[in-house]
């Protein structure tokens, strides 16, 4: 019967099969050294997150000391606006996404004192809407990603009680779909990225019991394709970043054993670039720091010994969170 072909990639037999950690560390350490590189300039609009991706993966590989702490802290300070929020880069507008990234970076460096913490809290609080949702910035885009950014930022600062948590929870739960997953807004289709944000959100707000873990876990484990890689929703191609969004979600709901770990590991390793270092979204494509972090973080969740333990809720090294005293709930 000729029906739908399964969308997937085929792993070549000569694809990388061992973890090239040093190459990745070299790739990240050198990234951004050429400030007028085309790709680098074009991604200025997300620079703060780019820095968070690079520093986190370096810390997971035990090589954070290769990065320039002072330069980065100065950059972050220069990105805090009067309203308290952080922009992606100097001269850009503030946004919740980059506010979270900034706070995460400062936690890595144990340097929260460098910024006005109360102002950050004020900024986050000001973005909560009547229905409990969060806008990304003053222009009003609503998305469950921003609910996650808000509670994650406040959790790291120890100030969760400053927002209306019950309302925020109500809004996120109103985004739960027939398949147990979550979308951007009520009525939006389930998507692994949104699911990661919502399960992370429910973990941080102590509401994981509101999930249908068996149903959601099934939807998530069905993301695994014959190549071993994970996609973000049905009928899509696998992408190494979903090895993070899907895997972390499964870990949070206590069902990580529902995917085939060795097949996934094989896929993630195949996404490495042996020459340049770094990970691409799929084997053979161009690498970037985003996919490099999520490839390494995914491997950490799979138990990779050469990499530090990563926290599935916040995508930060566990030892950093232990230092802060933040241990978000996980289902077992």
């Amino acid at each position: 019967m000729l029906g739908t072909q399964i969308k997937d990639v085929i792993l070549k037999p000569d694809a990388p099969s061992s973890l090239l950690l040093d190459k990745h560390a070299d790739y990240i350490a050198a990234y951004g050294s050429k400030k007028d590189d085309y790709e680098y300039t074009l991604s200025e609009y997300l620079r703060m997150s780019g820095i968070y991706w690079g520093l986190t993966v370096m810390d997971l590989m035990g090589q954070l000391d290769r990065m320039n702490l002072q330069e980065i802290i100065d950059f972050i300070k220069a990105c805090q606006h009067d309203c308290g929020g952080f922009s992606a880069s100097i001269g850009h507008d503030p946004h919740l996404l980059y506010t979270l990234s900034a706070v995460q970076i400062l936690c890595l460096y144990d340097s929260l004192h460098a910024i006005d913490v109360d102002k950050v809290v004020e900024y986050v609080k000001g973005l909560q809407q009547e229905d409990g949702s969060f806008a990304g910035d003053k222009w009003g885009e609503i998305d469950t990603r921003f609910s996650f950014c808000a509670v994650a930022t406040l959790a790291l600062l120890g100030k969760m009680e400053m927002i209306n948590v019950d309302r925020a929870v109500e809004f996120v739960l109103s985004c739960m779909n027939f398949d147990g997953g979550f979308g951007c807004r009520p009525g939006s289709e389930s998507h692994a990225g949104q699911i990661y944000c919502c399960t992370g959100f429910l973990s941080l707000t102590g509401q994981l019991h509101q999930l249908n873990a068996d149903l959601l876990g099934w939807w998530l484990c069905e993301r695994q394709l014959p190549s071993g890689g994970l996609n973000g929703r049905p009928e899509k191609l696998p992408d190494v970043c979903y090895s993070w969004w899907v895997l972390a979600s499964l870990k949070i709901i206590g069902r990580i054993h529902w995917i085939d770990k060795s097949r996934l590991r094989q896929f993630i390793l195949a996404c490495q670039d042996e020459e340049t270092g770094g990970f691409a979204d799929r084997p053979g494509d161009m690498v970037d720091p985003f996919h490099t972090l999520f490839g390494v973080a995914g491997l950490s969740l799979l138990g990779e010994e050469q990499v530090k333990a990563v926290n599935p809720v916040l995508c930060m090294p566990e030892d950093v969170l232990q230092r802060i005293g933040l241990q978000p709930d996980l289902l077992s």
């Binding site: 029906g3 885009e141 779909n177 027939f178 807004r185 289709e189 484990c221 529902w258």
Partner: protein, 491 residues
């Protein structure tokens, strides 16, 4: 103003042509449209139609369409027709089925007998769809997966249709023990022990008590317990009437403790609660029966299609969980071979169904003994349904832990779990009646692993033969110190 905004919309259309997946472009278009003095929603809908015809999985476009539909008041049945057209025209149509799942409960709600509770049940589309429409929907989906058995969207949607409706919020069991002067209450969902709105009334008088979860590791529990003030009910010559009020949900449960009785309970069975399957009307039963036959025929044509196998299992569960037990287990075996990447999922799902069947059998037999042995059980669930169980036998399975939720077995007297892989006994915690524990041939390796047992005051017999911990030098004296109540120790 209209002219400026119109120009912006033209500009945005050009942007969307280049990148139809830009959050910013769609948000800005929505921002402009909302401020247009004379918005043209028909044009916005037609933009969505064009965009979806190029890529009907573009969730930005779907979300924008939902906003336009809401603001301009497009009728739900029109949108349902729209989803019909899209489903019919495309293979990759998960977004359309998803949209349908949001429209159906609005268009064809199940009318409830009583008014909805103040805090209605959460969860995926908690509103029921009326039966007439449901049966039509089964037909629609069946056509889809018979046309293309590899169209996974239809199978996902079908599973949702088969799923039972959300449970009513209720107190499913109240248990009272005269000796322990303790009350245990089971709810239809986990609740926070510190949640206001639980009232205990004894013999017509409200009683001040402190509710707690059965284990400190989880604050939200489906079973809560409280201790009554000493001397309240311990005189066996007295009869008492107890009521637990769940005020937030306008529901309550009574329990009478008779003279001469040391314990009492009042409970809805799993069948009463429609816990494992919904009550089926005659019409629905016959529809599902014929669907089962059809999917079985399809499975013979497509032996490697895991969706068929899984759906057959789900249909059997919906129709007759006990009657189809053997066949279900056989299908799980095949499923694990056909879709080996997800074999752990199928194992856990199979465990869940076997536990459900064991609960059903236990209830039909009206006994308080729960036994699943030699079934490759890898995990435990539905422990909140085992509140009244006095004897449990989990021997010869593949369990690695007795999780904190195990502490819900408040009436447990005998625990047998030989020949497993147990190394964690967290859930054997403050079980007031537990007297006998057999854990032969497990993986208990340190004294710390046995720590939870020390919280069980009545524990007298403990069999630890075949565990690594018995090899430790001072194990006998260590255990005598840790578990002083144990008189019968086998190492």
């Amino acid at each position: 103003m209209q002219k400026i905004y119109e120009a912006e919309l033209s500009f945005l259309e050009a942007c969307l042509k280049v990148n139809p997946k830009s959050y910013g472009s769609w948000h800005h278009r929505g921002w402009v449209s909302a401020r247009l003095p004379r918005p043209d929603w028909a044009r916005e809908l037609s933009l969505c139609d064009r965009c979806l015809s190029l890529d009907d999985r573009n969730f930005h476009c779907w979300d924008y369409r939902r906003m336009v539909v809401k603001v301009s008041g497009v009728p739900v049945d029109q949108e349902l027709e729209f989803s019909d057209r899209l489903i019919g025209s495309n293979f990759s149509n998960y977004s359309s089925w998803h949209y349908r799942s949001t429209l159906l409960p609005v268009l064809h709600p199940q009318t409830r007998q009583e008014p909805p509770h103040a805090s209605s049940p959460r969860g995926p589309q908690s509103h029921r769809v009326c039966e007439e429409q449901l049966l039509k929907e089964y037909e629609l989906v069946q056509n889809a997966f018979f046309t293309d058995p590899n169209d996974q969207s239809a199978w996902f949607y079908y599973r949702w249709l088969l799923g039972r409706a959300e449970r009513e919020e209720t107190i499913s069991c109240v248990y009272v023990s005269r000796e322990d002067e303790r009350v245990a209450v089971a709810f239809s969902r986990p609740i926070n022990a510190r949640c206001v709105g639980l009232l205990l009334v004894l013999d017509g008088q409200p009683l001040r008590v402190e509710w707690r979860s059965v284990h400190p590791r989880f604050r939200h529990s489906p079973v809560l317990i409280c201790d009554l003030p000493p001397g309240t009910i311990n005189d066996v010559t007295n009869e008492h009437n107890l009521t637990v009020h769940w005020t937030g949900n306008h529901t309550h449960r009574d329990c009478a403790l008779y003279t001469g009785r040391v314990e009492s309970w009042c409970r809805d069975t799993a069948t009463d609660q429609e816990l494992f399957r919904s009550e089926l009307s005659v019409e629905k039963t016959s529809v599902l029966q014929s669907e089962l036959q059809s999917v079985k025929q399809l499975q013979e044509l497509e032996p490697l299609n895991k969706w068929c196998l899984l759906t057959i299992i789900l249909l059997m569960r919906a129709l007759d969980p006990l009657g189809y037990e053997k066949e279900t287990l056989a299908h799980f075996q095949t499923l694990k071979e056909v879709d080996s990447m997800r074999s752990e999922y199928y194992s856990d799902l199979c465990c869940k169904f076997m536990i459900e069947n064991t609960i059903l059998k236990m209830e039909y037999a009206e006994v308080r003994v729960f036994s699943i042995t030699d079934r490759n059980l890898t995990s435990l669930c539905h422990l909140d349904q085992l509140l009244l169980v006095t004897h449990i036998n989990l021997s010869s399975n593949r369990l690695q832990r007795l999780p904190p939720q195990f502490a819900m077995l408040q009436c447990l007297e005998v625990l047998e779990a030989d020949n497993n892989f147990l190394e964690n006994l967290e859930g054997v915690y403050h079980l007031p009646r537990l007297q006998e524990v057999s854990l032969k041939n497990n993986k208990i390796s340190t004294l710390t692993d046995l720590q939870p047992l020390a919280s069980c005051p009545e524990l007298k017999r403990l069999d630890l033969r075949g565990n690594p911990v018995t090899q430790a030098a001072s194990v006998e004296s260590d255990l005598a110190e840790l578990l002083p109540s144990v008189t019968d120790l086998l190492l």
